[in-house]
């Protein structure tokens, strides 16, 4: 092993400058986990290439030596996707920081994968353009990571996810070949590999360039904050707004615990005694906003909101959002640890699922703060726990797993935007049956036949599912009818 490592290091030094290869334990520590810090592991070595040719050379080497590779952006992922492998290379894209081209006439920006999400919009302001998907982590997370996770944000209800907002990728395959996926127009010949790559969690290739679509900055954006004395009423109001034919730019919900935490942290002016708040943002032309904001106001009143506030200026609008965007760290302040779930459900099941989560919270004696993208039914229950109390993390994970299984049961999914990674690998056995999982493995093999890119993540082996013993509850079919029990 040690000599293997030395051989690998020597070869890496031949390809890269000294400071692009890290292998001393203290240098490896910053890379031991992503945003899901409950899972930690040190990689064999970290490489920090700066050019596409270097990435190609590294992958060629790893391919020949059969060394697994994990790509990493900013490491803000919440499912352990960038968790290193002990025997593997961690390939950081942190030095790919350049915006290569802004094409305002075609409304495109060509950027390197390590560019931060927010930096793209900031660079495009002068052209009155921006990049729409806005994960709450947008000041830190990279566009490469966004593509790998198909990230969303508070504005994806109207503007779509990453998959709807990119045009072209340059990808280095595991054997070191560089391919271009997508194109300059609105579509490209052949299969839709752009869709397949998006959300593939670093399993199919290493993204070395991204061309994103830009949108004109809306003439106006206006946000309404509505407070409710009952979570279910707030949930129902969400459906009422959508069925009135209004598609808000964002429609977010927070429950009492999340409201208090956010208010204490950033002083957004939230009503701290409310059971739930909705933030509903309308954007577009001046005229559309004026009309829709009135419609929304009316609906919220009819749905029983106890207080409705329209942000009086841009400052107040940003303040309303500040509380929401800081919700995770705010919850982090009131509890030693928290565990963020990411199930998505049909909107109509919102009241039922929230009630079930509250019941389980009492049963497990673990408080839950709910923050979510209500407009798309994407829940983020944050389970509060203390990792220093023996057994508590385990109970938390079990509780979290139950929430995800419930999401599948009501017709939803175990992950809306954070990805499966290492974290939800067991729940994949609940959502998919064995033939579906085998199909995923076959797709992976078409890109990476030696299974060296991020192995063990995102798609469980059938063996693992049999050990997990999950009931596949999708569409009422039996789990693994054709699989022997181990």
């Amino acid at each position: 092993m040690a000599s293997d490592k030395n051989d690998l290091l020597n070869e890496l030094y031949r390809l890269l400058p000294r400071d692009s290869v890290l292998h001393e334990t203290e240098d490896l520590h910053p890379y031991e986990c992503d945003g899901l810090s409950a899972y930690r592991k040190l990689p064999l070595v970290v490489v920090l290439p700066e050019t596409v040719e270097q990435v190609q050379a590294i992958l060629r080497l790893c391919y020949a030596r059969e060394v697994p590779v994990v790509a990493r952006g900013a490491g803000t992922g919440l499912s352990g996707g960038a968790l290193p492998l002990e025997n593997g290379v961690l390939l950081s894209l942190a030095r790919f920081k350049h915006i290569l081209e802004i094409d305002p006439d075609n409304r495109l920006a060509r950027v390197q994968p390590g560019v931060r999400n927010l930096a793209i919009s900031q660079a495009c302001v002068e052209h009155n353009l921006y990049y729409a998907p806005d994960p709450s982590s947008q000041i830190a997370c990279t566009i490469g990571g966004n593509v790998a996770e198909n990230s969303g944000g508070v504005h994806c209800l109207k503007y779509g996810l990453t998959v709807h907002n990119i045009n072209q990728l340059k990808v280095v395959m595991m054997d070191g070949e560089l391919v271009t996926i997508g194109g300059g127009g609105l579509d490209s010949p052949g299969y839709d590999l752009l869709a397949l790559m998006t959300g593939s969690e670093g399993m199919l290739g290493v993204i070395v360039e991204v061309t994103v679509k830009l949108l004109p900055i809306p003439q106006r954006a206006q946000v309404v904050l509505a407070a409710f004395d009952d979570v279910e009423k707030a949930g129902a109001a969400v459906g009422d707004i959508i069925s009135a034919g209004v598609i808000p730019a964002g429609l977010e919900m927070m429950d009492g615990l999340a409201i208090k935490a956010a208010e204490d942290f950033v002083h957004a002016g939230y009503p701290v005694d409310a059971a739930a708040i909705l933030l509903c943002e309308i954007d577009g032309t001046n005229e559309d906003v004026s009309e829709h904001i009135l419609t929304v106001h009316d609906i919220l009143k009819k749905s029983g909101a106890i207080e409705i506030r329209t942000a009086k200026d841009e400052q107040e609008r940003l303040n309303f959002w500040k509380g929401r965007k800081a919700a995770f760290p705010a919850v982090g302040r009131i509890s030693p640890d928290y565990y963020c779930m990411d199930g998505t459900i049909p909107r109509k099941s919102l009241p039922q699922v929230l009630k079930a989560i509250a019941d389980m919270s009492a049963e497990y004696k673990l408080p839950v703060a709910n923050v979510f993208h209500a407009g798309d039914g994407n829940l983020h229950p944050l389970i509060l726990y203390d990792a220093n109390i023996p057994g508590e993390l385990q109970r938390t994970e079990e509780f979290g797993g139950k929430i995800l299984e419930l999401c599948v049961k009501v017709g939803g999914t175990i992950t809306g935007e954070h990805g499966v990674g290492m974290e939800k690998i067991n729940q994949m056995c609940v959502q998919f049956n064995s033939v579906e999982l085998q199909q995923f493995h076959a797709v992976k093999a078409a890109f990476d036949e030696k299974c060296l890119l991020n192995p063990g993540k995102a798609v469980p082996t059938l063996h693992r599912c049999a050990e997990f013993g999950a009931m596949h509850v999708h569409h009422g079919e039996m789990a693994f009818p054709d699989l022997e029990r181990f």
Partner: protein, 352 residues
């Protein structure tokens, strides 16, 4: 409304066992498109019915043989629509065929394509296994995005059985403005509007005139009308539908009809023939007898691609040839879903 999943599954299993190629048939309205089909017919057109539609969820799920006309009628009753405005090319057009061909209409550059609205599919792979991917929720990143991968794959990787789509409310008001311009100016004008956040839902240049369609609340359409100016197309004019369905006079020709997909701001290409620029310049129709290689080279040089949409030699390659490395990847992916190569072989590319 009838569920033929088991019958279809039996047929595919049988074809897999005997390595017999199948051509998948929906409403048979897009036979002209792609390469000539071959193999035994697998009729999906009778596998019909809307399985789930809840207007408040903005989702519809239907069997692949359900006609677009049935789906769009039901949506219209609830003041909703398929945002990608699919062409039908015939009354019998099915949902499955529309997704398999990934065909979208004039609204595409402003609202997105078929694949953008696909949320989930149930399909039969080339082994006859029934698989579900995605679902009926707006956000879903569990597993690879196989549903969208099926869009535009022309049935070469799976037989679509059911499809879930996101739908959207219709706008209150609509109006089309017309102005006379030369081509270069029209392209500049479209780019200019696109950066202004105007409520535009289609823009097209026919060689003399620029057509801009507005959609939104009555007030915002009114404001945009003042801003853009020009003449107004009569409200009952079927212009956009004739463009979408290729019944507009432009398409009435036996010449090869090319579809060039380009970045919208691309300057006019120097190819002889008759042009029609839709999708704000991103989809350019060309009626031309120029050699295929010349047309493809010009499209490629401009960063796009060209497809022989109608007429011409249907035995030759129809879609833009793929670089060798890409073609090899396509082969491996096709093999992953259809190991014996029985699903619509040769319909998309000769060797796929």
């Amino acid at each position: 409304m009838s569920d033929l999943s088991t019958i279809l599954q039996d047929s595919v299993v049988d074809a897999y066992r005997h390595r017999r190629p199948l051509q998948i048939l929906g409403g048979n309205t897009k036979r002209f498109y792609g390469r000539q089909p071959s193999g035994g017919q697998l009729e999906v057109g009778s596998h019909t019915g809307i399985i789930n539609y809840e207007p408040t969820e903005l989702v519809i799920t239907a069997r692949a043989g359900t006609t677009l006309s049935e789906i769009e009628t039901v949506l219209a009753q609830n003041n909703q629509m398929l945002p990608f405005e699919p062409p039908r090319f015939g009354a019998a057009a099915t949902l499955g065929g529309t997704v398999a061909c990934n065909l979208s209409g004039p609204r595409r550059p402003y609202a997105g394509s078929v694949r953008d609205y696909v949320l989930g599919v149930k399909l039969l792979n080339g082994k006859g296994e029934i698989l579900h991917f995605g679902g009926e929720v707006m956000k879903n990143v569990a597993g690879y995005d196989v549903s969208r991968l099926m869009s535009g794959a022309m049935g070469t990787m799976g037989v679509l059985l059911e499809i879930s789509l996101k739908v959207l409310p219709r706008a209150d008001d609509e109006c089309t403005l017309i102005m006379e311009l030369d081509e270069a100016l029209a392209i500049r004008q479209i780019a200019h509007y696109a950066r202004e956040a105007l409520p535009i839902s289609a823009s097209l240049y026919d060689g003399n005139r620029l057509y801009v369609r507005l959609c939104g609340t009555a007030r915002s359409v009114g404001m945009a009308k003042l801003k853009i100016g020009g003449d107004q197309l009569p409200l009952n004019d079927s212009f956009w539908s004739r463009i979408n369905e290729h019944t507009h006079a432009f398409f009435d020709s036996p010449q090869p009809l090319w579809r060039l997909s380009l970045a919208p701001y691309t300057a006019p290409l120097k190819l002889h023939g008759k042009w029609l620029l839709d999708w704000g310049g991103a989809q350019r129709w060309l009626l031309s007898d120029e050699p295929a290689e010349k047309i493809r080279a010009a499209a490629e040089q401009a960063g796009g691609h060209a497809c022989l949409f109608r007429n011409g030699d249907r035995e030759a390659e129809i879609f833009h040839p793929l670089p060798a490395k890409m073609l090899a990847l396509h082969h491996r992916l096709k093999h992953a879903f259809d190991p014996h190569g029985i699903l619509n072989p040769g319909r998309m590319y000769k060797e796929l």
